[in-house]
Symmetry: C2
Subunit: 312 residues, 2 copies
Protein backbone atom coordinates (compact mmCIF):
# COMPACT_ATOMS: atom_id res chain seq x y z
CA UNK A 1 0.00 0.00 0.00
CA UNK A 2 1.16 3.54 -0.68
CA UNK A 3 -0.14 7.07 -0.23
CA UNK A 4 -1.65 9.11 -3.04
CA UNK A 5 -0.49 12.44 -1.67
CA UNK A 6 1.88 13.12 1.20
CA UNK A 7 1.88 16.71 2.42
CA UNK A 8 4.72 17.99 4.57
CA UNK A 9 4.13 21.03 6.80
CA UNK A 10 6.50 22.76 9.18
CA UNK A 11 9.42 20.43 8.49
CA UNK A 12 12.45 22.14 7.06
CA UNK A 13 14.02 20.07 4.27
CA UNK A 14 17.28 19.92 6.26
CA UNK A 15 15.54 18.27 9.21
CA UNK A 16 15.83 14.91 7.51
CA UNK A 17 18.81 13.46 5.67
CA UNK A 18 18.18 12.98 1.92
CA UNK A 19 18.04 9.20 2.34
CA UNK A 20 15.03 9.57 4.63
CA UNK A 21 13.24 11.92 2.24
CA UNK A 22 13.83 9.37 -0.49
CA UNK A 23 12.23 6.66 1.61
CA UNK A 24 9.22 8.90 2.14
CA UNK A 25 9.02 9.78 -1.57
CA UNK A 26 9.06 6.11 -2.47
CA UNK A 27 5.87 5.65 -0.42
CA UNK A 28 3.75 8.23 -2.23
CA UNK A 29 2.62 9.20 -5.72
CA UNK A 30 3.04 12.87 -4.84
CA UNK A 31 5.02 14.57 -2.10
CA UNK A 32 4.24 18.21 -1.53
CA UNK A 33 5.60 20.80 0.88
CA UNK A 34 3.42 23.66 2.10
CA UNK A 35 4.00 26.35 4.68
CA UNK A 36 0.63 26.30 6.36
CA UNK A 37 -1.95 23.54 6.72
CA UNK A 38 -5.34 24.51 5.36
CA UNK A 39 -4.10 25.67 1.99
CA UNK A 40 -6.27 24.51 -0.87
CA UNK A 41 -3.75 22.03 -2.19
CA UNK A 42 -3.63 20.17 1.08
CA UNK A 43 -7.26 19.18 1.01
CA UNK A 44 -6.73 15.96 -0.93
CA UNK A 45 -3.80 14.67 1.12
CA UNK A 46 -4.10 11.21 2.62
CA UNK A 47 -0.90 11.61 4.67
CA UNK A 48 0.14 14.67 6.64
CA UNK A 49 3.67 14.90 8.04
CA UNK A 50 4.11 17.76 10.49
CA UNK A 51 6.65 19.36 12.80
CA UNK A 52 5.86 19.22 16.50
CA UNK A 53 4.96 22.92 16.50
CA UNK A 54 2.54 22.68 13.58
CA UNK A 55 -1.08 23.20 14.62
CA UNK A 56 -3.49 20.63 13.19
CA UNK A 57 -6.91 21.41 14.61
CA UNK A 58 -10.30 19.77 14.22
CA UNK A 59 -11.37 22.18 11.47
CA UNK A 60 -8.33 21.30 9.37
CA UNK A 61 -8.88 17.58 9.85
CA UNK A 62 -12.52 18.02 8.89
CA UNK A 63 -11.46 19.65 5.60
CA UNK A 64 -9.39 16.65 4.50
CA UNK A 65 -11.72 13.79 3.64
CA UNK A 66 -8.98 11.47 2.37
CA UNK A 67 -6.71 11.88 5.40
CA UNK A 68 -5.64 8.58 6.96
CA UNK A 69 -2.41 9.37 8.77
CA UNK A 70 -0.72 12.25 10.62
CA UNK A 71 2.95 11.74 11.49
CA UNK A 72 4.44 14.16 14.03
CA UNK A 73 8.20 14.76 13.89
CA UNK A 74 8.68 14.96 17.64
CA UNK A 75 7.69 13.51 20.97
CA UNK A 76 5.25 16.27 21.91
CA UNK A 77 1.99 16.22 19.98
CA UNK A 78 -0.11 18.78 21.85
CA UNK A 79 -0.60 20.89 18.70
CA UNK A 80 -2.57 18.10 17.01
CA UNK A 81 -6.20 17.52 17.94
CA UNK A 82 -5.77 13.80 18.38
CA UNK A 83 -9.36 13.28 19.55
CA UNK A 84 -10.76 14.91 16.41
CA UNK A 85 -8.39 12.77 14.34
CA UNK A 86 -9.59 9.65 16.10
CA UNK A 87 -13.25 10.55 15.45
CA UNK A 88 -12.42 10.70 11.75
CA UNK A 89 -10.43 7.45 11.86
CA UNK A 90 -7.13 9.22 11.32
CA UNK A 91 -4.13 7.61 12.99
CA UNK A 92 -1.64 9.99 14.67
CA UNK A 93 1.89 8.83 15.46
CA UNK A 94 4.73 10.51 17.35
CA UNK A 95 8.35 9.71 18.21
CA UNK A 96 8.58 8.53 21.81
CA UNK A 97 11.93 8.05 23.43
CA UNK A 98 14.29 8.91 20.60
CA UNK A 99 16.03 11.54 22.68
CA UNK A 100 15.79 9.95 26.12
CA UNK A 101 19.52 9.58 26.52
CA UNK A 102 20.33 12.93 24.89
CA UNK A 103 18.18 14.76 27.42
CA UNK A 104 19.21 12.69 30.46
CA UNK A 105 22.91 13.14 29.71
CA UNK A 106 22.38 16.86 29.09
CA UNK A 107 20.97 17.22 32.62
CA UNK A 108 24.24 15.95 34.08
CA UNK A 109 26.34 17.91 31.62
CA UNK A 110 24.81 21.26 32.52
CA UNK A 111 24.67 20.43 36.22
CA UNK A 112 28.38 19.57 36.33
CA UNK A 113 29.21 22.55 34.13
CA UNK A 114 27.54 24.73 36.72
CA UNK A 115 28.88 22.98 39.81
CA UNK A 116 32.47 23.06 38.53
CA UNK A 117 32.46 26.37 36.60
CA UNK A 118 33.65 24.62 33.46
CA UNK A 119 32.94 27.39 30.93
CA UNK A 120 34.69 30.01 32.99
CA UNK A 121 37.57 27.62 33.66
CA UNK A 122 38.07 26.97 29.96
CA UNK A 123 38.09 30.70 29.29
CA UNK A 124 40.67 31.29 32.02
CA UNK A 125 42.91 28.53 30.68
CA UNK A 126 42.60 29.99 27.17
CA UNK A 127 43.93 33.26 28.62
CA UNK A 128 46.84 31.40 30.17
CA UNK A 129 45.46 31.41 33.73
CA UNK A 130 46.17 27.88 34.85
CA UNK A 131 45.97 28.12 38.62
CA UNK A 132 43.13 26.83 40.78
CA UNK A 133 42.69 30.23 42.48
CA UNK A 134 39.18 31.60 42.20
CA UNK A 135 37.59 28.21 41.61
CA UNK A 136 35.40 26.28 43.94
CA UNK A 137 33.00 23.51 43.21
CA UNK A 138 30.66 21.02 44.70
CA UNK A 139 29.93 17.38 44.15
CA UNK A 140 26.87 15.37 43.17
CA UNK A 141 27.74 12.51 45.52
CA UNK A 142 25.72 12.52 48.71
CA UNK A 143 23.43 15.36 47.66
CA UNK A 144 19.65 15.00 47.66
CA UNK A 145 18.88 14.53 43.97
CA UNK A 146 15.14 14.93 43.44
CA UNK A 147 13.56 13.68 40.23
CA UNK A 148 10.00 14.78 39.46
CA UNK A 149 8.31 12.36 37.07
CA UNK A 150 9.66 8.89 36.33
CA UNK A 151 8.87 8.35 32.68
CA UNK A 152 11.60 7.32 30.25
CA UNK A 153 13.84 10.32 30.80
CA UNK A 154 13.24 10.66 34.55
CA UNK A 155 14.08 6.99 35.02
CA UNK A 156 17.37 7.36 33.18
CA UNK A 157 18.20 10.48 35.21
CA UNK A 158 17.60 8.45 38.37
CA UNK A 159 19.89 5.66 37.14
CA UNK A 160 22.71 8.02 36.23
CA UNK A 161 22.34 9.87 39.57
CA UNK A 162 22.66 6.49 41.33
CA UNK A 163 25.98 6.00 39.53
CA UNK A 164 27.11 9.29 41.02
CA UNK A 165 26.12 8.01 44.49
CA UNK A 166 23.65 10.82 44.99
CA UNK A 167 20.88 10.46 47.56
CA UNK A 168 18.24 9.95 44.88
CA UNK A 169 14.56 10.55 45.69
CA UNK A 170 11.55 10.86 43.42
CA UNK A 171 7.95 11.79 43.04
CA UNK A 172 5.83 10.41 40.26
CA UNK A 173 2.12 9.87 39.68
CA UNK A 174 2.66 6.16 40.15
CA UNK A 175 5.09 4.44 42.52
CA UNK A 176 8.03 2.68 40.87
CA UNK A 177 8.84 -0.40 42.90
CA UNK A 178 11.85 -1.39 40.88
CA UNK A 179 13.50 1.96 41.54
CA UNK A 180 12.63 1.79 45.22
CA UNK A 181 14.33 -1.59 45.56
CA UNK A 182 17.41 0.09 44.10
CA UNK A 183 17.42 2.58 46.95
CA UNK A 184 15.50 5.45 45.38
CA UNK A 185 13.17 6.90 47.99
CA UNK A 186 9.63 8.01 47.14
CA UNK A 187 8.61 11.37 48.63
CA UNK A 188 5.44 13.42 48.44
CA UNK A 189 6.06 16.28 46.05
CA UNK A 190 5.99 19.02 48.74
CA UNK A 191 8.58 17.12 50.71
CA UNK A 192 10.74 16.27 47.69
CA UNK A 193 10.96 19.89 46.55
CA UNK A 194 11.82 21.03 50.09
CA UNK A 195 14.61 18.46 50.51
CA UNK A 196 16.25 18.68 47.11
CA UNK A 197 19.73 20.02 46.55
CA UNK A 198 19.19 19.30 42.87
CA UNK A 199 15.74 19.03 41.32
CA UNK A 200 15.26 17.66 37.81
CA UNK A 201 11.83 17.97 36.20
CA UNK A 202 10.59 15.24 33.87
CA UNK A 203 6.82 15.49 33.82
CA UNK A 204 4.90 15.72 30.57
CA UNK A 205 3.45 19.10 29.68
CA UNK A 206 -0.27 18.72 30.38
CA UNK A 207 -2.77 20.80 32.31
CA UNK A 208 -2.12 18.53 35.34
CA UNK A 209 1.50 19.59 35.54
CA UNK A 210 0.93 23.30 34.96
CA UNK A 211 2.25 25.27 37.91
CA UNK A 212 3.44 22.04 39.54
CA UNK A 213 6.25 23.99 41.19
CA UNK A 214 3.80 26.51 42.58
CA UNK A 215 4.66 29.55 44.69
CA UNK A 216 4.61 27.68 47.97
CA UNK A 217 6.90 24.93 46.70
CA UNK A 218 9.33 27.35 45.04
CA UNK A 219 9.52 29.51 48.15
CA UNK A 220 10.14 26.43 50.31
CA UNK A 221 13.20 25.27 48.38
CA UNK A 222 16.56 25.02 50.14
CA UNK A 223 19.04 27.83 49.90
CA UNK A 224 21.48 26.87 47.18
CA UNK A 225 19.13 24.46 45.45
CA UNK A 226 19.52 23.98 41.71
CA UNK A 227 16.61 23.22 39.38
CA UNK A 228 17.36 21.68 36.00
CA UNK A 229 14.25 22.03 33.90
CA UNK A 230 14.11 20.34 30.51
CA UNK A 231 10.31 20.39 30.32
CA UNK A 232 7.85 23.23 29.82
CA UNK A 233 8.34 26.36 31.93
CA UNK A 234 4.59 26.23 32.47
CA UNK A 235 5.42 23.75 35.25
CA UNK A 236 7.00 26.58 37.30
CA UNK A 237 5.47 29.66 38.96
CA UNK A 238 7.64 32.22 37.20
CA UNK A 239 6.98 35.08 39.64
CA UNK A 240 7.97 33.01 42.64
CA UNK A 241 11.00 31.77 40.75
CA UNK A 242 11.98 35.34 39.99
CA UNK A 243 11.89 36.17 43.71
CA UNK A 244 14.31 33.35 44.46
CA UNK A 245 16.54 34.30 41.52
CA UNK A 246 16.56 37.89 42.76
CA UNK A 247 17.66 36.72 46.20
CA UNK A 248 20.25 34.62 44.41
CA UNK A 249 19.67 31.55 46.53
CA UNK A 250 18.14 29.23 43.94
CA UNK A 251 19.51 28.47 40.48
CA UNK A 252 17.57 27.47 37.38
CA UNK A 253 19.34 25.79 34.47
CA UNK A 254 17.23 25.64 31.36
CA UNK A 255 17.28 25.54 27.60
CA UNK A 256 15.41 28.25 25.71
CA UNK A 257 11.86 27.44 24.62
CA UNK A 258 8.60 29.04 23.65
CA UNK A 259 7.01 28.09 26.96
CA UNK A 260 8.01 31.55 28.16
CA UNK A 261 7.45 34.78 26.24
CA UNK A 262 10.41 36.77 24.98
CA UNK A 263 9.67 39.31 27.70
CA UNK A 264 9.76 36.63 30.40
CA UNK A 265 13.09 35.27 29.15
CA UNK A 266 14.52 38.77 29.17
CA UNK A 267 13.26 39.37 32.69
CA UNK A 268 14.70 36.13 34.09
CA UNK A 269 17.96 36.28 32.17
CA UNK A 270 19.01 39.36 34.15
CA UNK A 271 19.77 37.14 37.11
CA UNK A 272 23.10 35.48 37.44
CA UNK A 273 21.47 32.32 38.81
CA UNK A 274 19.45 31.85 35.67
CA UNK A 275 21.52 29.73 33.32
CA UNK A 276 20.07 29.67 29.81
CA UNK A 277 21.16 27.41 26.96
CA UNK A 278 19.97 27.29 23.38
CA UNK A 279 17.24 24.80 22.54
CA UNK A 280 19.64 21.95 21.85
CA UNK A 281 18.92 19.62 24.76
CA UNK A 282 17.92 16.73 22.53
CA UNK A 283 20.47 17.37 19.78
CA UNK A 284 22.91 14.49 19.50
CA UNK A 285 23.92 12.50 16.45
CA UNK A 286 22.35 9.44 18.02
CA UNK A 287 19.05 11.19 18.76
CA UNK A 288 18.94 12.84 15.33
CA UNK A 289 19.38 9.55 13.59
CA UNK A 290 16.89 7.77 15.82
CA UNK A 291 14.36 10.55 15.25
CA UNK A 292 14.64 10.43 11.47
CA UNK A 293 14.59 6.67 11.36
CA UNK A 294 11.56 6.41 13.66
CA UNK A 295 9.67 9.11 11.76
CA UNK A 296 10.02 7.33 8.42
CA UNK A 297 9.53 3.90 9.92
CA UNK A 298 6.24 5.06 11.46
CA UNK A 299 4.97 5.84 7.94
CA UNK A 300 6.24 2.53 6.58
CA UNK A 301 4.69 0.52 9.41
CA UNK A 302 1.37 2.26 8.94
CA UNK A 303 1.36 1.40 5.25
CA UNK A 304 2.33 -2.16 6.10
CA UNK A 305 -0.79 -2.38 8.25
CA UNK A 306 1.18 -2.60 11.48
CA UNK A 307 1.21 0.96 12.79
CA UNK A 308 3.60 1.78 15.63
CA UNK A 309 3.77 4.68 18.08
CA UNK A 310 0.10 5.43 17.62
CA UNK A 311 -1.16 8.10 20.02
CA UNK A 312 -4.90 8.00 19.49
CA UNK B 1 51.87 13.53 73.61
CA UNK B 2 52.63 16.71 71.69
CA UNK B 3 55.35 18.00 69.38
CA UNK B 4 58.11 20.32 70.50
CA UNK B 5 58.45 22.05 67.18
CA UNK B 6 56.21 21.79 64.13
CA UNK B 7 57.72 23.25 60.98
CA UNK B 8 55.49 24.04 58.00
CA UNK B 9 57.04 24.24 54.53
CA UNK B 10 55.37 24.94 51.19
CA UNK B 11 51.89 25.33 52.62
CA UNK B 12 50.33 28.70 52.05
CA UNK B 13 48.50 29.90 55.16
CA UNK B 14 45.27 30.10 53.14
CA UNK B 15 45.46 26.41 52.27
CA UNK B 16 43.91 25.53 55.62
CA UNK B 17 40.99 27.21 57.36
CA UNK B 18 41.97 28.98 60.63
CA UNK B 19 40.22 26.30 62.72
CA UNK B 20 42.58 23.67 61.31
CA UNK B 21 45.68 25.77 61.97
CA UNK B 22 44.44 26.18 65.54
CA UNK B 23 44.15 22.44 65.95
CA UNK B 24 47.72 22.05 64.71
CA UNK B 25 49.00 24.83 66.99
CA UNK B 26 47.37 23.15 69.96
CA UNK B 27 49.51 20.07 69.30
CA UNK B 28 52.90 21.80 69.45
CA UNK B 29 54.98 24.06 71.72
CA UNK B 30 56.19 25.97 68.68
CA UNK B 31 54.79 26.24 65.15
CA UNK B 32 57.09 27.78 62.60
CA UNK B 33 56.72 28.53 58.89
CA UNK B 34 59.72 28.48 56.59
CA UNK B 35 60.06 28.82 52.83
CA UNK B 36 62.65 26.15 52.23
CA UNK B 37 63.49 22.98 54.16
CA UNK B 38 67.10 22.80 55.23
CA UNK B 39 67.20 26.26 56.80
CA UNK B 40 69.05 26.31 60.08
CA UNK B 41 65.94 26.79 62.19
CA UNK B 42 64.34 23.64 60.88
CA UNK B 43 67.01 21.34 62.26
CA UNK B 44 65.35 20.81 65.62
CA UNK B 45 61.86 20.12 64.32
CA UNK B 46 60.20 16.89 65.38
CA UNK B 47 57.29 17.37 62.97
CA UNK B 48 57.46 18.53 59.38
CA UNK B 49 54.29 19.46 57.51
CA UNK B 50 54.83 19.89 53.78
CA UNK B 51 52.98 20.66 50.56
CA UNK B 52 52.93 17.88 47.97
CA UNK B 53 55.45 19.73 45.82
CA UNK B 54 57.96 20.27 48.65
CA UNK B 55 61.14 18.24 48.21
CA UNK B 56 62.24 16.39 51.36
CA UNK B 57 65.31 14.37 50.42
CA UNK B 58 67.52 11.99 52.39
CA UNK B 59 70.09 14.70 53.18
CA UNK B 60 67.42 16.91 54.74
CA UNK B 61 66.04 14.06 56.81
CA UNK B 62 69.57 13.20 57.94
CA UNK B 63 70.01 16.75 59.23
CA UNK B 64 67.00 16.58 61.54
CA UNK B 65 67.81 14.24 64.43
CA UNK B 66 64.54 14.89 66.31
CA UNK B 67 62.27 14.32 63.32
CA UNK B 68 59.50 11.80 63.99
CA UNK B 69 56.77 12.71 61.54
CA UNK B 70 56.34 14.11 58.02
CA UNK B 71 52.79 15.00 56.99
CA UNK B 72 52.21 15.62 53.28
CA UNK B 73 49.26 17.87 52.30
CA UNK B 74 48.29 15.86 49.25
CA UNK B 75 47.84 12.40 47.82
CA UNK B 76 51.08 12.35 45.82
CA UNK B 77 54.23 11.98 47.95
CA UNK B 78 56.91 11.40 45.33
CA UNK B 79 58.88 14.47 46.47
CA UNK B 80 59.57 12.88 49.87
CA UNK B 81 62.26 10.22 50.21
CA UNK B 82 60.03 7.83 52.12
CA UNK B 83 62.64 5.09 52.23
CA UNK B 84 65.20 7.41 53.86
CA UNK B 85 62.52 8.48 56.32
CA UNK B 86 61.75 4.88 57.16
CA UNK B 87 65.44 4.14 57.78
CA UNK B 88 65.47 6.91 60.32
CA UNK B 89 62.21 5.78 61.92
CA UNK B 90 60.30 8.77 60.59
CA UNK B 91 56.63 8.15 59.77
CA UNK B 92 55.33 9.74 56.55
CA UNK B 93 51.60 10.22 56.00
CA UNK B 94 49.60 11.41 52.99
CA UNK B 95 45.96 12.08 52.16
CA UNK B 96 44.57 9.22 50.14
CA UNK B 97 41.16 9.47 48.59
CA UNK B 98 40.03 12.89 49.75
CA UNK B 99 39.39 14.01 46.19
CA UNK B 100 38.23 10.74 44.66
CA UNK B 101 34.76 12.01 43.90
CA UNK B 102 35.91 15.48 42.87
CA UNK B 103 38.17 14.00 40.19
CA UNK B 104 35.76 11.28 39.04
CA UNK B 105 32.90 13.76 38.63
CA UNK B 106 35.21 16.20 36.83
CA UNK B 107 35.95 13.53 34.22
CA UNK B 108 32.26 13.35 33.31
CA UNK B 109 31.79 17.09 33.54
CA UNK B 110 34.52 17.87 31.02
CA UNK B 111 33.57 14.95 28.80
CA UNK B 112 29.94 16.08 28.59
CA UNK B 113 31.01 19.71 28.20
CA UNK B 114 33.01 18.64 25.17
CA UNK B 115 30.46 16.21 23.71
CA UNK B 116 27.63 18.75 23.97
CA UNK B 117 29.53 22.02 23.32
CA UNK B 118 28.25 23.48 26.57
CA UNK B 119 30.63 26.46 26.85
CA UNK B 120 29.96 27.59 23.32
CA UNK B 121 26.24 27.03 23.80
CA UNK B 122 26.17 29.21 26.92
CA UNK B 123 28.01 31.95 25.04
CA UNK B 124 25.56 31.77 22.14
CA UNK B 125 22.58 31.98 24.49
CA UNK B 126 24.16 34.96 26.25
CA UNK B 127 24.28 36.66 22.85
CA UNK B 128 20.60 35.90 22.34
CA UNK B 129 21.14 33.01 19.90
CA UNK B 130 18.70 30.45 21.17
CA UNK B 131 18.29 28.11 18.23
CA UNK B 132 19.77 24.62 17.94
CA UNK B 133 21.41 25.44 14.59
CA UNK B 134 25.13 24.82 14.58
CA UNK B 135 25.04 22.36 17.45
CA UNK B 136 25.61 18.68 17.31
CA UNK B 137 26.55 16.31 20.08
CA UNK B 138 27.14 12.74 20.96
CA UNK B 139 26.16 10.50 23.81
CA UNK B 140 28.05 8.45 26.38
CA UNK B 141 25.54 5.60 26.27
CA UNK B 142 26.71 2.66 24.23
CA UNK B 143 30.21 4.00 23.62
CA UNK B 144 33.32 2.02 24.55
CA UNK B 145 34.44 3.71 27.76
CA UNK B 146 37.96 2.53 28.59
CA UNK B 147 39.32 3.06 32.09
CA UNK B 148 43.05 2.56 32.63
CA UNK B 149 43.83 1.80 36.26
CA UNK B 150 41.19 0.76 38.78
CA UNK B 151 42.27 2.38 42.01
CA UNK B 152 39.86 4.52 44.00
CA UNK B 153 39.24 7.09 41.26
CA UNK B 154 39.24 4.64 38.33
CA UNK B 155 36.71 2.47 40.14
CA UNK B 156 34.36 5.40 40.70
CA UNK B 157 34.74 6.43 37.05
CA UNK B 158 33.72 2.90 36.06
CA UNK B 159 30.68 3.02 38.34
CA UNK B 160 29.49 6.37 37.01
CA UNK B 161 30.07 5.23 33.41
CA UNK B 162 27.90 2.17 34.16
CA UNK B 163 25.13 4.57 35.23
CA UNK B 164 25.42 6.18 31.80
CA UNK B 165 25.02 2.73 30.19
CA UNK B 166 28.39 3.00 28.48
CA UNK B 167 30.16 -0.14 27.27
CA UNK B 168 32.70 0.00 30.10
CA UNK B 169 36.00 -1.86 29.77
CA UNK B 170 39.16 -1.64 31.85
CA UNK B 171 42.77 -2.50 32.20
CA UNK B 172 44.49 -2.58 35.55
CA UNK B 173 47.55 -4.28 37.01
CA UNK B 174 45.26 -6.63 38.90
CA UNK B 175 41.93 -8.05 37.75
CA UNK B 176 38.87 -6.71 39.57
CA UNK B 177 36.36 -9.54 39.84
CA UNK B 178 33.65 -7.46 41.45
CA UNK B 179 33.69 -5.04 38.54
CA UNK B 180 33.69 -7.88 36.03
CA UNK B 181 30.57 -9.39 37.60
CA UNK B 182 28.95 -5.98 37.08
CA UNK B 183 29.59 -6.25 33.36
CA UNK B 184 32.88 -4.38 33.07
CA UNK B 185 35.10 -6.21 30.61
CA UNK B 186 38.84 -6.65 31.19
CA UNK B 187 41.01 -5.97 28.14
CA UNK B 188 44.73 -6.09 27.54
CA UNK B 189 45.98 -2.52 27.42
CA UNK B 190 46.81 -2.55 23.69
CA UNK B 191 43.32 -3.76 22.93
CA UNK B 192 41.61 -1.36 25.34
CA UNK B 193 43.32 1.69 23.86
CA UNK B 194 42.46 0.54 20.34
CA UNK B 195 38.76 0.00 21.14
CA UNK B 196 38.08 3.05 23.26
CA UNK B 197 35.78 5.86 22.18
CA UNK B 198 36.59 7.49 25.51
CA UNK B 199 39.73 6.70 27.48
CA UNK B 200 40.14 7.86 31.08
CA UNK B 201 43.56 7.46 32.72
CA UNK B 202 43.79 6.68 36.43
CA UNK B 203 47.18 5.10 36.99
CA UNK B 204 49.56 6.41 39.64
CA UNK B 205 52.55 8.37 38.44
CA UNK B 206 55.45 5.96 38.80
CA UNK B 207 58.24 4.86 36.49
CA UNK B 208 56.07 1.85 35.54
CA UNK B 209 53.40 4.07 34.07
CA UNK B 210 55.71 6.46 32.26
CA UNK B 211 54.93 6.44 28.55
CA UNK B 212 52.11 3.96 29.15
CA UNK B 213 50.27 5.42 26.17
CA UNK B 214 53.31 4.97 23.97
CA UNK B 215 53.59 5.90 20.30
CA UNK B 216 52.17 2.65 19.03
CA UNK B 217 49.15 2.82 21.31
CA UNK B 218 48.46 6.51 20.58
CA UNK B 219 48.76 5.95 16.82
CA UNK B 220 46.39 2.96 17.05
CA UNK B 221 43.55 4.89 18.69
CA UNK B 222 40.22 5.19 16.90
CA UNK B 223 39.41 8.23 14.84
CA UNK B 224 37.35 10.52 17.04
CA UNK B 225 38.59 9.02 20.31
CA UNK B 226 38.68 11.27 23.37
CA UNK B 227 41.28 10.91 26.12
CA UNK B 228 40.53 12.46 29.50
CA UNK B 229 43.77 12.55 31.43
CA UNK B 230 43.73 13.59 35.07
CA UNK B 231 47.08 11.97 35.88
CA UNK B 232 50.62 12.89 34.89
CA UNK B 233 51.27 13.73 31.23
CA UNK B 234 54.36 11.55 31.58
CA UNK B 235 51.96 8.65 30.92
CA UNK B 236 51.56 9.84 27.32
CA UNK B 237 53.99 9.98 24.38
CA UNK B 238 53.62 13.69 23.69
CA UNK B 239 55.10 13.60 20.16
CA UNK B 240 52.72 10.88 19.03
CA UNK B 241 49.86 12.73 20.70
CA UNK B 242 50.81 15.86 18.82
CA UNK B 243 50.62 13.98 15.52
CA UNK B 244 47.06 12.89 16.30
CA UNK B 245 46.11 16.39 17.48
CA UNK B 246 47.54 17.82 14.29
CA UNK B 247 45.42 15.43 12.25
CA UNK B 248 42.53 16.48 14.44
CA UNK B 249 41.23 12.96 14.91
CA UNK B 250 41.93 12.46 18.61
CA UNK B 251 41.00 14.83 21.44
CA UNK B 252 42.79 15.26 24.76
CA UNK B 253 41.01 16.89 27.70
CA UNK B 254 43.34 17.78 30.50
CA UNK B 255 43.95 20.13 33.40
CA UNK B 256 47.17 22.12 33.41
CA UNK B 257 50.06 20.66 35.41
CA UNK B 258 53.80 20.72 35.73
CA UNK B 259 54.15 17.32 34.12
CA UNK B 260 54.67 19.17 30.85
CA UNK B 261 56.99 22.11 30.34
CA UNK B 262 55.58 25.52 29.47
CA UNK B 263 56.92 25.02 25.95
CA UNK B 264 55.11 21.70 25.63
CA UNK B 265 51.82 23.22 26.81
CA UNK B 266 52.18 26.01 24.33
CA UNK B 267 52.92 23.57 21.52
CA UNK B 268 49.91 21.35 22.26
CA UNK B 269 47.50 24.18 23.01
CA UNK B 270 47.67 25.32 19.39
CA UNK B 271 45.45 22.42 18.41
CA UNK B 272 41.72 22.74 18.62
CA UNK B 273 41.42 19.17 19.88
CA UNK B 274 43.54 19.92 22.93
CA UNK B 275 41.17 21.07 25.66
CA UNK B 276 43.04 22.58 28.59
CA UNK B 277 41.56 23.49 31.97
CA UNK B 278 43.18 25.14 34.96
CA UNK B 279 44.56 22.85 37.68
CA UNK B 280 41.28 22.64 39.58
CA UNK B 281 40.29 19.04 38.98
CA UNK B 282 40.20 18.20 42.69
CA UNK B 283 38.80 21.52 43.87
CA UNK B 284 35.38 21.06 45.47
CA UNK B 285 34.14 22.24 48.82
CA UNK B 286 33.77 18.63 49.88
CA UNK B 287 37.31 17.69 48.83
CA UNK B 288 38.83 20.81 50.39
CA UNK B 289 37.21 20.09 53.71
CA UNK B 290 38.10 16.40 53.62
CA UNK B 291 41.71 17.29 52.77
CA UNK B 292 42.10 19.72 55.64
CA UNK B 293 40.38 17.44 58.10
CA UNK B 294 42.45 14.41 57.09
CA UNK B 295 45.70 16.38 57.18
CA UNK B 296 45.16 17.55 60.76
CA UNK B 297 43.67 14.25 61.87
CA UNK B 298 46.78 12.44 60.58
CA UNK B 299 48.88 14.53 62.99
CA UNK B 300 46.47 13.93 65.87
CA UNK B 301 46.33 10.19 65.27
CA UNK B 302 50.11 9.99 65.15
CA UNK B 303 50.37 11.76 68.50
CA UNK B 304 47.69 9.48 69.91
CA UNK B 305 49.90 6.52 69.00
CA UNK B 306 47.50 5.30 66.32
CA UNK B 307 48.92 6.70 63.09
CA UNK B 308 46.74 6.55 59.99
CA UNK B 309 47.53 6.89 56.28
CA UNK B 310 51.15 5.90 56.82
CA UNK B 311 53.06 5.45 53.58
CA UNK B 312 56.33 3.94 54.76
Amino acid sequence: MRFTKVVVVGIDETKLEPAYWQRIESLADVLQRVDVVGEKLVVDADCLLVGFETVVDAVTIEKMPNLKYIGVLGTAYDRVDVAAAKDRGVIVTNLPGYSTEAVAEWVFGVLLEHLRNLSRAKQEAAKGNYGPAGFSGSEIMGKVFGVVGLGRIGTRVVEIALGFNADVRYWSRTRKNEMETRGVKYEELDELVRQADFLSLHVTGTSDTENLLNRERIMGMKTGAIIVNTVSMRTIDVDALEERLKRGDVTLIRMHSRSLTGEQWKRLSRYQNMVVYPAFTNVTNEANQAREEMFVRNVERFLAGKPENVIN
